[in-house]
C-alpha cells in the first residue's frame, strides 16, 4: 500500500455500489483534495466487505474503524472529524444490538470477529484492479511454490490432504477430482471454473470475482499444473458484467507478468484462461450442462459416467470447480494442508462463505469456519431476526437445499449434518425466515424456480416438478385435497431417484424438507384452509383477521369506527367475539403484528381503536339470536366462567340454548377477574359483557366447583345433554427450591386472586417476583400498588426472551420495578425465625438453543448471591390437576396433562363433553379461549342437532366506502397515552387512557383495507 498515513477503504461490491458507494468514493476524493489531504489519505475502492445491508460501508486503516451507511452528505463530517481530528463519528458506526453501545472497530463487531477469512482474505482489503496489491498479500507465491518445488502429483495430494471439498454444492473432495484427471493419459485436458452462480440470493462467487479475481486465477493455474491442462475456461453468467470486467482486467495483468500464457514464471509450464459467458441458466451449474454450453450447445446435462475427469469438455479429461473452491487453493498450497485442515470439523475442513439473506439483520456475505453452530451464524454473525420476530427456519442450499427449523439451531453447519436434516451445504445461500413465512409458500417459491429452470430433458424433472408445483399451488390456494401430502412425498422421492441430473434429483428437496419439518402447515392449509403465517392470500380476507384466533372481522369493525358507526362496528365485532370490551384491554393482539401497514409507517393500533369503539357503548345491544324452542328446552352446561366458558355461553345462547354456567368463584371472568389486575381491566368493563351474556339467556351459578360441588356425571344425571368444560389452568406452579414452603412465599396466581377476588392482600417491603410472563409482571405491579417499597423481578433468561408483552414490561420498568435477568433462584433464604429474608440466586448464561429456538439458560460461573426480599412471589406458570376434577368420567388427557379436545369442535373422548381454552391448551391467551369457546358451541350444537348452525361464520363485507385508487397518506401510528407513574402506582386505576374521538377515527382510517376486493363481487359503498 502507498506511503500514506491513512487508507480509507470503500467497499465497491455489488451491494454497496447499488447503495451509492461510487458516489461516496468520488465525494471523498474531492473532499480530501479540497482539504489538501489527498497525499495523506488514500481512498481505495475494494471488493465486497460483507455487510451489504449496511452499505455503503468503509473501513479506515490503520485504525480499523468500520463505518456503515455512509452517504455523500456524511463525507465532510467524516473527513473533518475522523481523518483530520482523529475522532470517531459515532453515528456512523455499529452499535451492539439493543443498546447504545458503539462498536467502532471492526474487531469489536460480532459480524466480523467471528469470521475466518481464507477465501475472502483479500476481498474488501485490496483494490481488485491492482495486481500489485494482490501480490503484496502473498499473491502468486503459492503458484511459484507449486511450479518450482512441487510435482503435479504433490499438488493434488496436498489439496486432497487439506480435506477441501467442492464448494459448488455437491462437496466432492477436490483433490480426488484432480487426481482422477491427472491420471488420465491425454495431451489435451481442461480446467474449468463454474462462476455461473444461479441460486437465488447467492453472490459468493461474484464477490470473489469482483473483489479478488487473482485468487481465482492463481487457484486455476495451480489446478491446471496439477492435472496437466493448458487451457482453462471461466464460465460466468452474463448478468455479472462487473465481475467479467474485473476478471478480464486481472487476466490481462497476469498475462503481462508472465503468470498466464506460455512458459509461466520461466518454468516451461504453459496455460491460459478464457472467459465464457453463460446466459443465466440454473442448470448450467451442473457440470456436464456447463460443458455442453461451453461447447456451444444448449446447456443440458449429459449422463454420467463418463465423468468429466475422464471425458468432459469436447470429450477431453476436464476438472470443474467453482470460484470459491479455486480461491481456497493458493492458501492451501502456500500454508500447507495441515494448516487448512485445522479449521473446520472432523469431516468438513476449512471455511465456507455464506450469503446471508432473508429475515436477518446483517444480510450480506460472511466466511465462517465449517461447523459453526447454525444459531451462532444467524444470531451472532447475522445479528438475529429484525423487528423482534421469531426465527422460524433457514433455507440452506438454495432451491436444491432444504430448510432447518428452529429446533435445530444447535447443529454445526457442515456437510454431513445438513444432509441428515434434509438440507445441503449447497453453494452457501442461507435464507433466514421468520414467523411470517409460510413454509408451503416457500416450498412453492423454490419449486417454481427449479421447475422453470429445468432443461426439460428428462420427464421426472420437466413433468414431475410441474405436477408437484401444481399440487403445492393448489394447497396454497386452499384447494388441497386429502392425500396431497402423501402424493408430494411419493412423487418427490421418485423424482430424486429417477432424474437425469442434480437439478432434478434435488428439486423436490424444498418440498420434502418443509413437509418433514412443517407438515402441520401443509395439513392446516389442506384441511382448515388456514395459513398460519398469513401469506397464502387466497385463504383469507386480511392478514389481521387471519391471525385473530377468534376470526374477528377486523377491517370491518375498524373501518366502521373510521366512520364513527360504533354500534355497527361492535355488532360486527361480536359476530365472532363477544368480549370486545375485555379484548380492548387485554388482548395480546396478534392481529397487529401481521398488519400490512407495519411495512409502511407502523402497524394499526387495532386494540386501541377497539377500546374507543367499546367506550361508546352504554348498554350492549344484543346480537342476532336464533329462536329455537327445541334448543331452549335442551339442558346444556358450561363449567367455568372464564373467557372460553363465556364465549361458549354467548354462542350457545345465539343458537337459542339457555346454557347454565357453573363457576367455582363468586365472580365470573376466570383469569380475567382472578389474575388480571383492575388497572389493566376495570371490573365494570368485564361485568358489562357478562351481563350481556346473561341477558341473552345464560344463567350463572357461582361458587359451584367441579369435583367439589358437582361432577360431570351428576350433570348428566340431572339431564344435561352436553357439557363444556372450561376450567382453565388454575393451579400455580412451584419453583422446586429449598425454603419455598412456608410463610412469605406465594404462587403468583394465589397472590393475584387473593387481592382480585377477596380484595385483601398485603406484601412486605421488599418483594421478589420470580418469572418472566404476564403473571409475573401483574404480580410485581400489583405488589407495588399494594405498598411494597421495592419490587424486583428475577428471570432466568434474557429480557428479550421474556414471554410477557413488551408494553407490560416497559410499564413495569417505568414504575420502578427492577428486572434482573439471567438469574435463577437456588433457595429461599429464611432467618432463624423462618422469616423470608431473601432469594439465593445464581447467575445464568445462555447455552445451546432449545426446541423453541431460544438459547437455554445454563449456570454461569460466578458465585451465588442473595437478593434481599421479605416476600417472594413465584409466577413461573400455571397448571391443571385434571384428574382431580373429572371424577370417573373418561376424558383423555394430552401429554401435558390437559384435556384432549378436537381443535375444530372442542369434542373430547366422551361425546357429550366438550372442552376448550386453557383447560385444553395450557395457559394461553384470552382471545384463544374465546375462539375455542365459539368452536365448542358450534360443536355442541352439531352434537345435539346433527347440523352446523353457526350462522355467524360468514364473510361480511364491511358496508363502508373505500376508494382503492387512493394512495395511503403517510400517517404514523397514534400512540396510546398512560396515566403518569406517580398517579398510578398507588392505586388500581386503569393505566391506559382513552383516545379522543378524532384520534381514534384517524387511526381507524389508517387501515389499508387488505380485504377490499376479496368478497367475490364488485365492491362499492
Amino acid at each position: 500500500m502507498a506511503d500514506v498515513r491513512t487508507n480509507l477503504l470503500i467497499c465497491t461490491g455489488g451491494g454497496c455500489i447499488a447503495s451509492g458507494a461510487l458516489d461516496v468514493s468520488e465525494a471523498m476524493r474531492a473532499e480530501l483534495a479540497t482539504r489538501e489531504l489527498a497525499g495523506e489519505v488514500e481512498v481505495i475502492e475494494t471488493g465486497c466487505l460483507g455487510p451489504c445491508v449496511q452499505g455503503p460501508v468503509a473501513l479506515v486503516y490503520p485504525d480499523g474503524v468500520f463505518y456503515q451507511n455512509v452517504h455523500v452528505e456524511d463525507v465532510p463530517e467524516l473527513v473533518e472529524e475522523h481523518l483530520l481530528k482523529g475522532r470517531i463519528v459515532e453515528r456512523l458506526v455499529s452499535h451492539a444490538p439493543g443498546t447504545d453501545k458503539t462498536q467502532a472497530e471492526m474487531n469489536d463487531i460480532p459480524f466480523f470477529n467471528r469470521q475466518v477469512k481464507i477465501v475472502l482474505r483479500n476481498s474488501g482489503i485490496i483494490d481488485p484492479l491492482k495486481i500489485d496489491e494482490y501480490i503484496a498479500r502473498e499473491g502468486y507465491q503459492a503458484l511459484a511454490k507449486a511450479l518450482t518445488s512441487m510435482t503435479p502429483e504433490a499438488v493434488a495430494e496436498e489439496v486432497l490432504a487439506s480435506g477441501l471439498r467442492g464448494r459448488g454444492g455437491a462437496g466432492f473432495p477436490t483433490g480426488m477430482k484432480w487426481r482422477f484427471a491427472q491420471q488420465q493419459d491425454n495431451d489435451v485436458k481442461y480446467i474449468i471454473c463454474n462462476a455461473d452462480e444461479g441460486d437465488p440470493g447467492a453472490f459468493m462467487d461474484r464477490s470473489v470475482l469482483e473483489g479478488d479475481p487473482h485468487s481465482l486465477i492463481e487457484g486455476m493455474v495451480i489446478g491446471a499444473y496439477a492435472i496437466g491442462a493448458h487451457q482453462g475456461y471461466v464460465y460466468v453468467r452474463a448478468e455479472y458484467p462487473l465481475a467479467v470486467e474485473r476478471l478480464e482486467h486481472a487476466l490481462g495483468q497476469a498475462r503481462e507478468l508472465g503468470l498466464l500464457g506460455d512458459d509461466i514464471m520461466g518454468t516451461g509450464f504453459s496455460f491460459d484462461l478464457e472467459i465464457r459467458m453463460g446466459s443465466g441458466a440454473f442448470v448450467c451449474g451442473e457440470e456436464t450442462a456447463l460443458m455442453t454450453s461451453i461447447e456451444g450447445h444448449r446447456g443440458e446435462p449429459r449422463p454420467r459416467p463418463p465423468f468429466p475427469a475422464v471425458s468432459g469438455l469436447w470429450g477431453k479429461p476436464s476438472v470443474l470447480n467453482n470460484v470459491e473452491t479455486f480461491a481456497n487453493i493458493a492458501p492451501i498450497i502456500l500454508k500447507g494442508a495441515a494448516w487448512y485442515a485445522s479449521t473446520g470439523t472432523e469431516t468438513s475442513k476449512g471455511t465456507k462463505v455464506f450469503a446471508l439473506g432473508g429475515n436477518v439483520q446483517h444480510t450480506g456475505l460472511v466466511e465462517v469456519p465449517i461447523g459453526m453452530q447454525l444459531g451462532e451464524l444467524i444470531y451472532e454473525v447475522g445479528g438475529g431476526i429484525p423487528g423482534g420476530k421469531d426465527f422460524k427456519a433457514a433455507q440452506l442450499g438454495g432451491p436444491s437445499g432444504g430448510c432447518i427449523p428452529k429446533q435445530h439451531l444447535n447443529v454445526p453447519v457442515d456437510y454431513a449434518t445438513l444432509q441428515d436434516l434434509g438440507a445441503i451445504m449447497g453453494s452457501g445461500g442461507v435464507i433466514v425466515m421468520d414467523e411470517d413465512t409460510c413454509m408451503v409458500d416457500i416450498a412453492r417459491f423454490f419449486l417454481e424456480f427449479t421447475q422453470e429452470e429445468s432443461c426439460g430433458k428428462c420427464p421426472p424433472c420437466r413433468v414431475g416438478t410441474k405436477r408437484m408445483l401444481e399440487i403445492v399451488d393448489r394447497i396454497c390456494k386452499g384447494e388441497g385435497e386429502e392425500g396431497d401430502v402423501e402424493r408430494l412425498i411419493a412423487l418427490g422421492e421418485s423424482i430424486q431417484q429417477t432424474s437425469l441430473c442434480g437439478l432434478g434429483q434435488t428439486a423436490p428437496n424444498p418440498v420434502l424438507s418443509t413437509i418433514r419439518h412443517f407438515r402441520h402447515e401443509y395439513e392446516a392449509h389442506i384441511k382448515d384452509h388456514y395459513c398460519e403465517a398469513g401469506v397464502c392470500a387466497t385463504l383469507f380476507k386480511a392478514r389481521c383477521s387471519n391471525a385473530c384466533p377468534a376470526s374477528v372481522n377486523i377491517p370491518g369493525f375498524v373501518s366502521l369506527v373510521g366512520e364513527q358507526r360504533y354500534e355497527e362496528a361492535l355488532r360486527l365485532h361480536r359476530e365472532r367475539n363477544p368480549l370486545a370490551s375485555i379484548c380492548a384491554r387485554v388482548c395480546f393482539h396478534p392481529c397487529e403484528s401481521k398488519c400490512m401497514r407495519a411495512g409502511l409507517d407502523g402497524a394499526l393500533a387495532i386494540r386501541h381503536v377497539k377500546r374507543h369503539m367499546v367506550e361508546q357503548e352504554t348498554d350492549p345491544v344484543l346480537p342476532e339470536i336464533m329462536v329455537s324452542e327445541e334448543n331452549a328446552g335442551r339442558k346444556v352446561a358450561i363449567v367455568g366462567a372464564g373467557p372460553a366458558g363465556l364465549s361458549a355461553a354467548f354462542f350457545l345462547a345465539r343458537l337459542g340454548y339457555k346454557p347454565v354456567v357453573f363457576e367455582a368463584e363468586p365472580k365470573a371472568g376466570g383469569m380475567l377477574v382472578q389474575a388480571i389486575p383492575a388497572y389493566r381491566l376495570p371490573r365494570a368493563e368485564l361485568q358489562r359483557e357478562v351481563d350481556m351474556i346473561a341477558a341473552m339467556g345464560a344463567t350463572f351459578e357461582y361458587n359451584k366447583a367441579l369435583g367439589r360441588d358437582f361432577t360431570l356425571q351428576s350433570l348428566k344425571d340431572e339431564g344435561y345433554e352436553a357439557v363444556f368444560v372450561g376450567v382453565g389452568a388454575p393451579q400455580g406452579m412451584k419453583i422446586g427450591v429449598p425454603g419455598e414452603d412456608g410463610p412469605g412465599v406465594y404462587d403468583g396466581l394465589s397472590f393475584l386472586k387473593q387481592y382480585n377476588i377477596h380484595g385483601a392482600g398485603a406484601v412486605g417491603r421488599n418483594v421478589a417476583v420470580i418469572g418472566g410472563g404476564n403473571a409475573a409482571i401483574d404480580a410485581a405491579r400489583s405488589a407495588l400498588r399494594l405498598g411494597a417499597e421495592s419490587v424486583k423481578i428475577l428471570y432466568r433468561r434474557t429480557r428479550a426472551q421474556m414471554p410477557a408483552w413488551g408494553e407490560e414490561i416497559d410499564a413495569a420498568d417505568l414504575e420502578g420495578i427492577e428486572i434482573l435477568t439471567l438469574v435463577a433462584p437456588e433457595e429461599i433464604v429464611r432467618d432463624a425465625s423462618g422469616k423470608v429474608i431473601g432469594v439465593l440466586c445464581k447467575e445464568m448464561a445462555l447455552g445451546d438453543y432449545d426446541k423453541s429456538g431460544r438459547r437455554r439458560p445454563v449456570a454461569g460461573h460466578n458465585p451465588t448471591f442473595v437478593v434481599a426480599a421479605d416476600t417472594v412471589i413465584a409466577a413461573i406458570g400455571q397448571s391443571l390437576d385434571a384428574s382431580a376434577i373429572v371424577d370417573g368420567t373418561p376424558l383423555e388427557l394430552n401429554r401435558w396433562g390437559y384435556f384432549e379436545a378436537d381443535p375444530v369442535t372442542g369434542g373430547t373422548s366422551t361425546d357429550w363433553v366438550f372442552s376448550g381454552g386453557d383447560a385444553t391448551t395450557g395457559p394461553s391467551s384470552v382471545v384463544e379461549a374465546i375462539g375455542a369457546g365459539e368452536r365448542a358451541a358450534a360443536g355442541m350444537d352439531q352434537f345435539l342437532t346433527g347440523a352446523n348452525h353457526a350462522f355467524w361464520r360468514r364473510d361480511i363485507e364491511p358496508p363502508v366506502f373505500f376508494d382503492p385508487d387512493l394512495d395511503p397518506e403517510e400517517a404514523p401510528r397514534h400512540e396510546v397515552e398512560e396515566l403518569a407513574v406517580a398517579a398510578r402506582v398507588t392505586n388500581f386505576d386503569e393505566v391506559e387512557l382513552s383516545w379522543a374521538a378524532q384520534v381514534a377515527v384517524a387511526e381507524a382510517r389508517r387501515c389499508l383495507r387488505c380485504d377490499y376486493g376479496k368478497y367475490g363481487h364488485k365492491q362499492g359503498v
Binding site: 421426472p460 420437466r462 413433468v463 414431475g464 416438478t465 412423487l491 421418485s494 429417477t498
Partner: protein, 590 residues
C-alpha cells in the same frame, strides 16, 4: 471384457458395452423410449432405468457403461416404481386423444403404458402446449403429443445435420420445434421425414392424403393412375405383418387394382428414363470439360432425392449448378403420364390424376413445387407414403396377404432391374454405371453380377474409381480415364462429400446422394420401425428383385426406347429438356 450380473445372470460383454446392451445380450428385456440403436443413447426419457448396486439413484441403462463386477437389477420394485412414475408423468403431459391419433396402432408410449401395467394416472395437470404446425405439404407437427424424447432432434441435427428441430424454452414449457417457435415451412427443414420416422408418438407425422385419393377414385370424370416407387415393394409387406425384406410387388399391384386405379404403373419406368437422361447429362458434362475445355460444374450430383434438393437449395446454393437438372423419377413420371400417356389413351391432362406411392415425405413437397407443371397442369397430384398406402389398403378391407400376384400395366409399368436398385443407397450410381459403360464402350458391363460392390452397403460415404477401357466413337475421349464416383446417404454424410469437394480434398465426377440413411428403403415414409437391421433386409430384397429380372439395364428397357422413338427423340433432347429437366432455387439458410 467386463463381466457383470444382471438379474442373477452373469454376462460377459465387449468393452464399452452399455448395461442395456449387456441386458439384451443376457436376454433381459429393458423397456426403452428415447433410445435409438446406433443413433441416440442420451438417457433422457428415464424409461430404461435400472438399479445398480451401490448407486445413489436409479441409472439409465442405455447410457450406463457396463463395468466389471457390476450387479444390476432390472426388475426390482424400486425399478418398476420408477419406470411407472416416469411413464405416468409422460402420459400426464401428453395429449392423449388415442382413439383418433394416427399413431394409435403403433404408438410406443401406449405400448409402454400397457407393458408397464399403468392403470390410472395419479398425477394429472396441465398438458403440453398444443400447437398444430401444418405449414408444409409434407409434415404435420402436433406439439401437444410431443414427449420431448429428442429422437427427432438427434436425427435432424446429427444424422441429417439440418438443424430444423431443437429443444427450446425451459421447464414444463420446453418444446421441441423449429427455432424461435417458427413453422417448419419457415426454417431449413428439408421435409425428409426422418423425424416422423423415429417419432415414438404422433407428434410428427406425414400429411395424410388418403381422403384425397378416395375422392379421386370416386370421381367418374377422372382417370386415376398410380405409380409406385422402387422402395415400396420391399417394405409395404411390413404393414401387413410380413418380416422386413419381404418383396410384395405382385400383391401390391393386385391391391392397387382392387382399389380402383385405372392403371397401375411403376416409378421404375421413369427411373430407367432418369438413367438415360442423367447418364447422357453426365457424359455431356464430361465431354464439355475434357474435350471442349468448357467450364462445367463437376462433380455432377444426382437429383432423385427431393430432401437432398431442398438441402442443397438451403445449405449449398453455390453448388446448385452441380445438381443434375433431371427431375426425379416421380416428377418425370408425372410429366410423361400427363403428356405421352394421356395422348396415347386420349385423356386430357386435366382429367387425369396421378397418384404416387413413395417411401418419402419430401416427395409430397416436391410434387407441390409450382414449377412441376410441365404437362400444363400439376404433374403429380397426390403423394402417399408407404404407410399411407398400407392404411388405404386396410381401409378398403382388402386382405392383402391373400392376394395373388399381378403384373404392372404397360407401358409405364415396364422396367428393369437397374430401376429397382434406385431404392438402395448406391443404386442410382450402379444403374448409371451399367448404362454409361455400355454406351461408352459398347461392351458388357464387366462387374460380377452387374454389382459394384464398393458402393453398396451402409457405409456413410462410399467411393469407387472405374477405369474406362475400350471407349468408342463420340466417347473415345474417355479412354483410360479414371471415373471417380462417390455415394453418400444421410445428409450429414452428403455434406462431408461436399466439404471434400469444396476444400479440394477429393475430385469426383459423379456423386449420388440419398437423403435418408440407406437410401429410399430407409425413407421417412416407410413403415416403422427402420433400424439398420431392417435397412439391410430391405436392401437385400431390392437386390433380389433386380437379380430376378431378365432386363437389368435401363438402356435396354424397351418401353423407354419406344418412348424416345415415339415421343421424346434423343435423351437430353429438346422435348426431354422441357418435360424431364428442371431448375433450382436458392433458399435462405434460416
Amino acid at each position: 471384457m467386463p463381466t457383470l450380473t444382471i438379474d442373477h445372470i452373469k454376462v460377459e460383454v465387449p468393452e464399452g458395452a452399455t448395461v442395456l446392451q449387456a441386458a439384451r445380450q443376457a436376454g433381459v428385456k429393458i423397456p426403452t423410449l428415447c433410445y435409438l440403436d446406433d443413433v441416440q443413447s442420451i438417457g433422457a426419457c428415464r424409461v430404461c432405468l435400472v438399479e445398480v448396486e451401490g448407486a445413489r439413484t436409479l441409472v439409465a441403462s442405455c447410457s450406463q457403461p457396463a463395468s466389471d463386477g457390476m450387479v444390476v437389477k432390472t426388475n426390482s420394485g424400486k425399478v418398476r416404481d420408477g419406470r411407472q412414475m416416469v411413464v405416468e408423468l409422460l402420459l400426464s403431459e401428453h395429449d392423449g386423444d388415442c382413439q383418433t391419433c394416427g399413431r394409435s396402432a403403433d404408438c410406443e408410449l401406449r405400448t409402454l403404458a400397457l407393458d408397464l401395467g399403468i392403470g390410472e394416472l395419479r398425477y394429472k395437470g396441465e398438458k403440453t402446449f398444443k400447437m398444430i404446425d401444418d405449414s408444409t405439404p409434407a409434415l404435420i407437427r402436433d406439439t401437444g403429443k410431443c414427449i420431448s424424447c429428442r429422437r427427432c432432434v438427434t436425427v435432424c441435427n446429427e444424422i441429417q445435420q439440418v438443424g430444423g428441430l431443437f429443444a427450446q424454452g425451459r421447464g414444463f414449457a420446453t418444446l421441441i420445434g423449429p427455432a424461435f417457435s417458427q413453422n417448419l415451412s419457415d426454417v431449413v427443414c428439408v421435409q425428409c421425414g426422418q423425424c416422423a420416422a423415429v417419432c415414438p408418438v404422433g407428434a410428427i407425422q406425414e400429411r395424410n392424403q388418403i381422403d384425397e385419393v378416395w375422392d379421386a377414385l370416386e370421381d367418374p370424370t377422372k382417370t386415376v393412375i398410380v405409380q409406385t416407387a422402387p422402395a415400396i415393394r420391399a417394405a409395404l409387406g411390413e404393414c401387413f405383418e410380413y418380416p422386413a425384406g419381404t418383396l410384395v410387388t405382385g400383391k401390391m399391384v393386385a391391391a392397387l387394382r382392387r382399389l380402383g386405379f385405372d392403371a397401375v404403373f411403376d416409378t421404375d419406368f421413369t427411373a430407367d428414363l432418369t438413367i438415360m437422361e442423367e447418364g447422357t447429362e453426365l457424359l455431356g458434362r464430361l465431354k464439355k470439360a475434357l474435350v471442349d475445355g468448357e467450364q462445367v460444374a463437376l462433380p455432377q450430383f444426382s437429383s432423385c432425392s427431393p430432401g437432398w434438393i431442398n438441402y442443397m437449395e438451403h445449405f449449398n446454393p453455390d453448388m446448385l449448378g452441380n445438381l443434375s437438372t433431371c427431375k426425379s423419377p416421380q416428377q418425370m413420371f408425372g410429366a410423361i403420364a400427363k403428356t405421352y400417356y394421356a395422348e396415347k389413351i386420349g385423356v386430357k391432362p386435366e382429367d387425369m390424376v396421378v397418384v404416387s406411392v413413395m417411401p418419402c415425405t419430401a416427395k409430397k413437397y416436391e410434387a407441390a413445387r409450382p414449377e412441376m407443371n410441365d404437362s400444363g397442369v400439376q404433374d403429380v397430384d397426390i403423394v402417399l407414403t408407404t404407410r399411407e398406402l398400407g392404411a388405404l389398403i386396410t381401409q378398403a378391407g382388402i386382405d392383402f396377404r391373400s392376394l395373388a400376384d399381378e403384373e404392372m400395366d404397360a407401358p409405364l409399368g415396364i422396367s428393369t432391374g437397374a430401376a429397382d436398385i434406385f431404392a438402395n443407397t448406391g443404386g442410382v450410381m450402379e444403374a448409371a454405371l451399367r448404362t454409361a459403360w455400355e454406351i461408352v464402350t459398347q461392351t458388357p458391363f464387366p462387374f460380377p453380377n452387374l454389382h459394384v460392390a464398393p458402393i453398396e452397403g451402409l457405409e456413410g460415404v462410399k467411393v469407387a474409381t472405374v477405369k474406362v477401357e475400350g471407349a468408342k466413337g463420340d466417347w473415345a475421349f474417355l479412354e483410360g480415364a479414371d471415373l471417380k464416383v462417390a455415394v453418400a446417404h444421410g445428409l450429414g454424410n452428403a455434406q462431408k462429400v461436399i466439404d471434400q469437394v469444396k476444400n479440394g480434398e477429393a475430385e469426383y465426377h459423379f456423386v449420388e446422394v440419398m437423403t435418408c440413411p440407406g437410401g429410399c428403403i430407409g425413407g421417412g415414409g416407410q413403415p416403422r420401425f427402420t433400424t439398420n437391421e431392417v435397412r439391410k433386409a430391405r436392401m437385400a430384397a431390392i437386390y433380389r428383385e433386380d437379380e430376378g429380372r431378365e432386363v437389368r439395364k435401363s438402356h435396354e428397357n424397351a418401353a423407354v426406347c419406344a418412348l424416345y422413338e415415339e415421343y421424346l427423340g434423343a435423351p437430353c433432347g429438346e422435348i426431354s429438356h422441357r418435360l424431364l429437366h428442371t431448375h433450382y432455387f436458392e433458399h435462405d439458410r434460416v
